[in-house]
């Protein structure tokens, strides 16, 4: 006679089987049985957040900053609806994670029971897949499927909704070793013939350009990318999601493309004759107006695991469906196997043009002795952390300055919300990162508006001794909104001003942390050094920055990539 165990025990056993070491969550009626089993086990730690949104963000960042899968657990009804922003954020950036949610007992479903909501229905459009488990005998295999689906193909969040009676009922526990699904078989290595065509095009190119994105980071393909870029001698740009995919301090790197990308990256995107896109999805923030982006004669090669990313916004000449890493490996092998070499004379001429673009020095800003420039704070942060911190960010101007001025040489060091652009992620992201990387230096670059969207997590940081450093670029404005109002709405600041701000130093102290308010450029470095000296403490650095500073370059919405506004134009 084999032993049976309850659904709640099965949940805990499955997580142990998956070698989960942290679960981020918040309890409630529907998940009490699961929590009781969590109490009894010691395989993984549970992190009690202060709001379910933060549980999802933290699990998401845990994934982003490691090669493991973040897990979170929320209760039915409001627990789930609070989690939705986090789930949608992870979905837009293709982050693998598993969300477990409690549900009312199966017999109550559909009866407007206490804390009931249609979780599968509400989350359907923002998950890779979701399940409602109605029979305890399906529980283990469903959780296995959830981990499998989340982490294969184009990754994404998967939710498993578990009614309370399923956590009480018992059955024999068997965790499947492998999963095979007739309806889900993510593509594999990429078509050799297509890869060959791509290599030919690249070797024949006069003005090659390599544009890479989140896919390179997600697939841990940075070494392959670096090798191929060096072999080809081509310039390279990383999207906001792809930063660190290629070392930012390398001479072949042109900076980020797009709306707030560099002059040289955008010019090269537009003027190249062969564009190789690697795990990037031609986002509207990257290519601007698609009509303007189109160039007669320019050939586009696109490597992506998701066929629906290919030729979605931009028509592609050589589509390659496959894992970035495998495809790059084969491209490298093919380049090395042929005698053909890139056209050195053409490349030289191409680089001469690029150097002209670079000489515009588009990220230059006016230094000041009176006002703290936000760019200056990021530069100092880079200096003091030796470029070695994992940096999380919120959403707004500060996010762009972080992306532009902190040079990421390695992947999984830049953690932000690109696709959904969710204000409030910064602090919970920093928590997830620190727990996944206990020895890392973690900095959260934020704004006075964004930080207040999940500020309650300072309490979680206290409970679990999470010593992140918060770099608040406090411009007393919804700065990104104010910038658009200045440029496109006659400088009318409709609801973009934040008065009645809290005293952030006192707030940090109230939560049991340390804070420093910094008002002069001369004090920036000292404050940073002080904060980073205390490895074991959370510091909240409130930098009172120049309120009028804007992010440049900027491609206005609907404009073409080469129609940038530069700081020097104004």
């Amino acid at each position: 006679m084999s032993q049976t165990i309850t659904g709640a025990e099965i949940v805990v056993r499955c997580l142990a089987e998956e070698k989960v070491d942290f679960v981020f969550g918040y309890p409630g009626g529907a998940v009490l049985n699961i929590y009781d089993e969590i109490f009894k086990q010691d395989k993984f730690k549970h992190v009690l957040v202060r709001h379910e949104q933060a549980a999802v963000h933290a699990a998401d960042a845990y994934s982003r900053s490691s090669q493991r899968i973040g897990v979170c657990l929320v209760t039915s009804g409001p627990g789930v609806t609070n989690a939705v922003t986090g789930i949608a954020t992870a979905y837009m950036d293709s982050i693998p994670m598993v969300i477990l949610s409690g549900q009312v007992p199966t017999a109550y479903i559909g009866q407007d029971a206490f804390q009931e909501c249609d979780t599968v229905g509400i989350t359907r459009p923002c998950v890779k897949h979701n399940f409602l488990v109605k029979d305890v005998r399906d529980l283990a295999s469903t959780i296995k499927k959830a981990f499998y689906i989340a982490s294969t193909g184009r990754p994404g969040p998967v939710l498993v909704d578990i009614p309370k009676d399923v956590t009480i009922n018992s059955c024999k526990f068997e965790y499947p070793e492998t999963i095979s699904m007739r309806s889900y078989n993510p593509a594999g290595k990429g078509h050799s013939g297509q890869i060959k065509k791509a290599v030919q095009l690249l070797l024949d190119a006069k003005r090659p350009m390599i544009y890479t994105g989140g896919g390179v980071v997600l697939n841990d393909a940075a070494p392959q990318l670096t090798k191929l870029v060096r072999l080809l001698g081509a310039p390279v740009t990383n999207t906001l999601m792809g930063l660190g995919g290629y070392p930012a301090t390398d001479p072949q790197y042109l900076g980020m493309p797009g709306m707030h990308g560099t002059f040289e990256a955008n010019q090269a995107m537009q003027d190249c004759d062969v564009l190789l896109a690697v795990g990037a999805r031609f986002d509207d923030r990257v290519i601007g107006n698609p009509g303007h982006f189109f160039r007669e004669g320019r050939k586009i090669i696109h490597i992506d695991i998701d066929p629906s990313s290919i030729s979605k916004r931009v028509k592609v000449d050589v589509p390659i469906v496959g894992y970035v890493r495998d495809v790059l490996d084969e491209m490298i092998a093919q380049v090395q196997a042929t005698d053909k070499r890139p056209d050195a004379a053409a490349l030289k001429a191409w680089w001469t043009r690029i150097k002209e673009w670079q000489s515009r020095n588009c990220l230059k800003y006016k230094a000041s002795d009176e006002l703290i420039k936000p760019q200056f704070v990021v530069e100092k942060l880079y200096e003091i952390t030796g470029g070695d911190a994992i940096v999380t960010s919120d959403v707004g101007q500060h996010q762009m300055w972080a992306a532009q001025y902190y040079k990421f040489d390695k992947p999984r060091r830049w953690i932000n919300s690109g696709g959904l652009g969710t204000m409030g992620v910064g602090l919970p992201y920093a928590m997830g990162v620190q727990l996944a990387n206990p020895d890392a230096t973690v900095a959260c670059i934020t704004g006075e508006a964004s930080i207040q969207m999940c500020i309650q997590e300072l309490s979680t940081c206290k409970q679990y001794h999470i010593p992140v450093k918060i770099i608040n670029l406090n411009n007393r404005y919804l700065g990104m909104v104010r910038q658009w109002q200045e440029f496109f709405y006659g400088n009318r600041h409709a609801e973009s001003y934040m008065n009645a701000l809290p005293d952030f130093v006192k707030l940090a102290e109230a939560y049991g942390h340390h804070g420093i308010k910094v008002e002069k450029p001369g004090d920036v470095e000292g404050a940073l050094r002080e904060a980073f000296k205390h490895k074991e403490k959370l510091y909240f650095l409130d930098f009172i920055t120049d309120q009028t500073e804007n992010v440049f370059p900027m491609v206005p919405g609907g404009k073409g990539l080469t129609e940038m506004i530069l700081a020097e134009d104004l």
Partner: protein, 163 residues
């Protein structure tokens, strides 16, 4: 261009709403949809009639394939195929209209399924154009009620959609 997509999907609760949700979320059109289980009861077959440019149809197909429960998608309008739709139409059939209505049903190879002294209920099958043509051919004022299943389709000859 009008396209008929045939979709094999897992016969699981919620699979249908994923497909329908995809169309509404991405702004694609559904002109008609019909679905039922196949001879293998773990699988359903759905026929969706849609229209859009080639780029849009390509995206629809790719997005459908991405749904975890979708096993296979084929655009059967890409090759020779057979398309049929069923319509039940209740019409006024009294006085001089009565004979005329019977004759129209015959011309369109319809069958009269139910008769009262004032009405006929006619069953018609054919491709969707033919059903439209019938509606256009009879006096609009005589139509009391119509119900259509939406098209279902199958490839001709050796073209088979199966796993």
């Amino acid at each position: 261009m009008r396209h008929i997509l045939s979709i094999l999907l897992e016969n699981e609760p919620g699979a249908l709403s994923r497909v329908v949700g995809l169309f509404s979320a991405r702004g694609y059109n559904i002109d008609s949809l019909s679905v039922a289980t196949t001879e293998d009861t773990t699988m359903s077959r759905m026929t969706i009639v849609t229209h859009g440019s080639d780029d849009i149809i390509e995206q629809i197909t790719k997005q459908l394939n991405k749904l975890i429960e979708v096993v296979k998608v084929v655009d059967i309008t890409e090759g020779n195929h057979i398309e049929r739709e069923l319509m039940l139409v209740k019409v006024r059939a009294s006085g001089k209209d009565r004979d005329e209505m019977k004759r129209m049903a015959d011309i369109f190879r319809g069958r009269i399924l139910d008769v009262t002294d004032k009405s006929y209920t006619i069953e018609l099958t054919g491709n969707s154009d033919k059903l439209d043509a019938f509606i256009a051919a009879i006096e609009p004022g005589t139509i009391l009620e119509t119900v259509r299943t939406g098209a279902s389709g199958i490839g001709r000859g050796e073209r088979i959609l199966k796993i």
